[in-house]
C-alpha cells in the first residue's frame, strides 16, 4: 500500500516536472494566464483629437503579433484590449474602469492625454489598486512624481523638457525674432509654458485654446492675434488636430511665419491627412526623440516599418506608429524582466531595477530607477522636407537633453545600444 502510494506520488511529480518544462507555470496575477498576458489601453479612436493617435493601437498590436509569433514573453502571448475615450476625461474613467474591473487587465499601457490620465488617477485610482500604468502617452511632467503616481511610468520626454530644449533651439536659430505661441489651455500647455518661462522666452502673443475647441474657425482667431502681434516665429504646441487647424487656416489666410511644431502634434502624416498640403509644412521645425521615420539606415525603423507594412498594409509608417511600436517593444522587455510568473508588483520592480537598460528606438536614454519614473529626456530638431517628412538638419541627429526642473539644456552624449536580435526582448 505504501509502495503504491509512493509510486503514485512519484508519477505525479514527474508529470508536474514535465508540465513545468513545456508550458509556463500557472500564474495567479490578474490578467496573466498560463498562455497570455492581457494589457489595456484608452485613447481617442474617434472624435476631434483622434487623428493620428488612433493608429497607435494598430501599431502596438502589429508589434505584439510579431512578438507572439516569435514565442511571446516567456511563452505567453500578449493580448491588447483597446477602449476609445474620445479624449474625454470622464470617458477615460469609464473605459479604464471597464479594463480593470471587467476585462481584468494586468496593466494599463500607453493611456493618452494629460487630463484623461489625471482623471483616471483621481477616480479609478490605479495606484491604490496596484495596477501599473505603463508608459503614459503624455509628456506632462507631473506623471513622473512617484509619490503622487506611484504606479505610473512616463516614457515621452516631458513638455517642460521639450519647451526648454525648443527655447535653446530658438536662441541658436531665431534670436531676435518676434515669437508667438499657440497652446492647449490645460496642464499640457501649462507644462510647456513652465518650460518656456524657465528658459526665459518672451512671446509677443500667447494664444491658448480650450481642449476640443480647435477648428478652422477658432484657428482664424489665433491667426488674427499672431499676425496682429507681427510674430515671425510661431510655436504650435497642441494636439495634431490643432496643429493642422493652425497650419491650414494660416495658409488660407496667407499668414506664413516660421513654424515650430511641438512633438505631440507634429506628425506629418496626420497633418497632411487633415488636408494641409505638404508645402505648408515645408521648412517647419519639428522635434523627436526617436529616429526619423524615413531613416531606413536605422535598425529599428527598418524592422518596425517592415512589421507594420505586413500587419497594416497601405498604412503609412509615421511617428505615431513608431511611438506605438516602440512602446510595445519596451513593454515586452519589462514583462520579460518581470520573471517567468510576472505579477503587477514584479513588473513595476523590473522597470525600476532594469528599465534604464531596456533597449529601445529612442535616441536618448530611459531614466527609470526606484526613485525616477522619467522616460526619455531629450530631443533632436529637424525640418520638414518638401514631402512633409521630418528630417534632422544636415542629416545629423543633434540631441539635446535636460530635466523638468531648473537643469541646463546640454547636448547629449548618449550612444544607443544595438537593437537586440530580431527586435525581440532578450
Amino acid at each position: 500500500m505504501k509502495r503504491r502510494a509512493l509510486i503514485s506520488a512519484t508519477a505525479v511529480l514527474a508529470v508536474a516536472a514535465l508540465t513545468a518544462a513545456t508550458v509556463p507555470a500557472q500564474a495567479a496575477e490578474v490578467g496573466v494566464s498560463s498562455t497570455s498576458i492581457t494589457l489595456g489601453m484608452t485613447l481617442p479612436m474617434t472624435g476631434t483629437a483622434s487623428p493620428g493617435y488612433n493608429k497607435i493601437p494598430g501599431a502596438m498590436k502589429a508589434y505584439f503579433d510579431y512578438l507572439n509569433a516569435n514565442g511571446g514573453v516567456n511563452g505567453r502571448s500578449i493580448n491588447l484590449k483597446v477602449e476609445d475615450d474620445q479624449y474625454v476625461p470622464t470617458q477615460a474613467v469609464a473605459k479604464t474602469n471597464k479594463l480593470i474591473l471587467q476585462d481584468k487587465v494586468m496593466a494599463l499601457i500607453s493611456p493618452l492625454g494629460t487630463a484623461n490620465n489625471k482623471a483616471v488617477a483621481a477616480s479609478v485610482n490605479p495606484a491604490r489598486r496596484g495596477v501599473p500604468v505603463l508608459f503614459v502617452n503624455t509628456g506632462f511632467s507631473g506623471f513622473a512624481d512617484t509619490k503622487k503616481y506611484p504606479t505610473t511610468y512616463a516614457i515621452l520626454p516631458s513638455y517642460v523638457m521639450e519647451a526648454k530644449i525648443m527655447a535653446e533651439y530658438i536662441k541658436d536659430n531665431f534670436a531676435g525674432k518676434t515669437l508667438g505661441l499657440v497652446y492647449q489651455d490645460d496642464d499640457f500647455g501649462t507644462d510647456a509654458l513652465k518650460g518656456f518661462t524657465q528658459a526665459g522666452v518672451t512671446f509677443a502673443a500667447k494664444v491658448p485654446y480650450a481642449s476640443g475647441s480647435q477648428s478652422s474657425t477658432t484657428a482664424a482667431g489665433w491667426v488674427s492675434k499672431l499676425s496682429a502681434a507681427k510674430c515671425d516665429v510661431v510655436i504650435l504646441f497642441g494636439v495634431s488636430s490643432a496643429t493642422a487647424a493652425g497650419l491650414g487656416t494660416a495658409a488660407a489666410l496667407k499668414y506664413a511665419p516660421q513654424w515650430i511644431l511641438g512633438s505631440v502634434g507634429g506628425d506629418a502624416t496626420t497633418i497632411k491627412a487633415a488636408g494641409v498640403p505638404a508645402g505648408v509644412l515645408y521648412n517647419a521645425v519639428g522635434a523627436s526623440f526617436a529616429p526619423a521615420t524615413t531613416d531606413m539606415t536605422d535598425d529599428y525603423i527598418k524592422l518596425f516599418s517592415d512589421i507594420y507594412a505586413k500587419a497594416v498594409p497601405g498604412s503609412a509608417f509615421d511617428n505615431n506608429v513608431l511611438i506605438g511600436m516602440n512602446t510595445a517593444f519596451v513593454t515586452a522587455q519589462a514583462l520579460k524582466a518581470a520573471g517567468t510568473n510576472p505579477t503587477r508588483a514584479s513588473l513595476m520592480a523590473a522597470i525600476e531595477s532594469k528599465g534604464s537598460t531596456f533597449a529601445s528606438a529612442g535616441l536618448l536614454p530611459l531614466n527609470y530607477s526606484k526613485t525616477s519614473h522619467v522616460g526619455y529626456n531629450g530631443y533632436w530638431f529637424g525640418k520638414y522636407s518638401p514631402t512633409g517628412d521630418l528630417k534632422p538638419v544636415d542629416g545629423k541627429y543633434v540631441l539635446y537633453t535636460t530635466d523638468s526642473g531648473s537643469g541646463a539644456v546640454v547636448k547629449s552624449t548618449y550612444k544607443r545600444p544595438a537593437m537586440p536580435a530580431k527586435g525581440l526582448p532578450e
Binding site: V88, T90, N125, R129, D185, D187, S211, G212, S213
Partner: protein, 549 residues
Amino acid sequence: MRISTTKSRFLAVLSSAALVATVVIATPAHAAAVGPICDGKVPVQTCQGTTSDGAPFVMMVPANFNGTVALYSHGYRYNIDLPAGMLPSAPAGYKVTNTPEPIPGGNPAIANYFLGNGMAIMGSGFSRQGWNLDAAVATNVELVAAFKKQFPKTNHVLAWGSSLGGIITQTLAEKYPTLVDAVAPMCMADNISAELTAAGDVLWGLKTFFDPTIKGGNYSAGAAGNAEAIGDIVKVLTVLGSLKNSVSTGAWPATSSATGKALEAAGVPSRSALLLVGLMAGLPTQSDHFDSISGPDGALKLTFPLAVSPALAVLENAASAAVLAILATQDVELQAGGAVYDNTKTDYSARVEDSSVIYNAALSGNTVIAAMLSALNPANPGAPRAKGDPAAMAMMAKMAATTGKINMPTVMMTGVADPITPAGATQRVVDAYAKQLKSEHDAAIAAAKSSKNYQRPQKNLVVLWSTTPKSYTTFDATGAPITTTPAAPGTNHCTFSTDNLLTVAKMMVGAGTTGKFPLGGPIASAARKSGNLSVDKYFRAPLLKYYNE
C-alpha cells in the same frame, strides 16, 4: 426564497396598500412618554406611543415574533412649512410632520421581509424636524428600551436609517455599542459642519456670480427668517432656471453680480462659472440625467460631454440640493444662534486643483479658470466672503458628530453621485475603519506574542456603492437631452431600488443575528444580484471639501 404556507398567508394579509396605510398613520405628539399602546391584532399588532420628548413612534410586531427588531430612522424633513408650487415633490405645499416611519418610505416589500420572517419593525417621527441628530439619538435609545420592555423576548436589535437617519444610526452605534447588534447607515449624511460647508459654498458661489441678493445664510430669527429662506429658494431656483436656458449660449442671468457681468464681458460662459461653483463645493458631475459621458449623434457627440454635460449635471444636482441646503442652514443657524458658514479662509483654487484639470474643457480652459478664481479671491470687493458667528460655529461644533468608529457589523450603502449626502461621507467612515482595523490587527499581533494565539480581528464593515450606469444620458430626435426619465441609479438622493434595500436588510439581519458577516463571495454575489451595487474595495469617493483632502 421558499416561504412557508403560514408565511404566505401572512403575506397575503399584508397587502401593500394596507401596510402603507398602517405605517404612515399619524400619531399626535404628547408632552410626556405614552405607551406603547398595542392593538393586539394578528398577524401583526401595531403599537403606538410617544417617547418622553414627545416623539411619536410606531412598533409593528408579528405574532410569531422571533426576538429581532429593526429600528429605522427617517431622513431630513424640513422644519418649516413651504407654500404650494415650491417643491416638485410636494406641489400642493409642504407641512411639517412627525409621522413615524418604521421602514424606508413605507415600502411594503421591506416591511413584508421583516414581518414575514418573524421580525418586528419600529421607527419614530422624532420630536422636531430639521437637523435633529442629538435629539433623535436620544429618542431612539428610549424607543429601544420601550420596545424591550414591551417585548421581553427581544434578543437582537438592528438599526438602520437613510440620509440624516443614516448618521443618526451611525451615531447611535458609536455612542451605544451594546444597544444594537448590527446597523445599516444608508446614504449617510456627514457631520453637520461638513454638510453645511458644502451647502454654503454652493449658495455663496451662486450669490457671488449670479444673484447678489441671495442671502445664502445668516437668516433672521422667526417668521422673518422663514421668509428670507423661502425667498432664497425662489431666487436660487430662478437663477438655476436661467442658467439652464442659456447653457448653450453661455449668457449670464440678468440678476448677475458686477463680478459675474465682468466675467461675461470677458467671454466667460455662465455654464463654466456654474461648473466651477459645483466643483468648489464638491457637487458630483453626474446627476439624474447627465452622465458627463454621452453626447447626441452629430456635431455635439464629443462637445456635449466634454464642454456642456458636466455643467448640466451640476445644475441638476444644485437644483436637487438647493432647498435642503437653504433650509438646513436656516435650521442649524436657529439652533446655534447665528451664522455658521464662514469661507473667509477658504482657498477655492486648492479646492479645484485636480478637478479643474479633469473638467478643463467644460471650464473653458486654464485662462478662464484663472479669471474666475481671481474674481472669487477675497481681495475682490465684488466677491465678499461670508463670515460666520464664532459663538454659533462653536455651538454647531458641539452638536453630535460621528468619528467613523465601527463597533458592530455595519452595512453602508450610498450613491456615488449623491449631491445631498455625498459618497464622501461614507468614505470618511471607510477611512476611519481602515485605521481602526489596522490598530486592532496590531493589537492582536501584540497579544499573540504572549498568548501564542493570534485572533484575527473581525471585519465589521461592508460598503455597498450604488454605482451609476456606464452611460445613461438620452437624447430626443433633435439631440436635446431627455430629463423626464427617472433618476439613474447612483444619482440624486438615496435612489435605491427595493432590491437594494432588501439586500441591505438581509445583510444587516444576517450579521446582527450571527454577529458577523459571511466571508467574501456571498456579499459580492448578493450585491451583484441586487443591481447597480459594487463592493469594490478599491473604489474611493472624495471626502467632502470641508476636510481639505
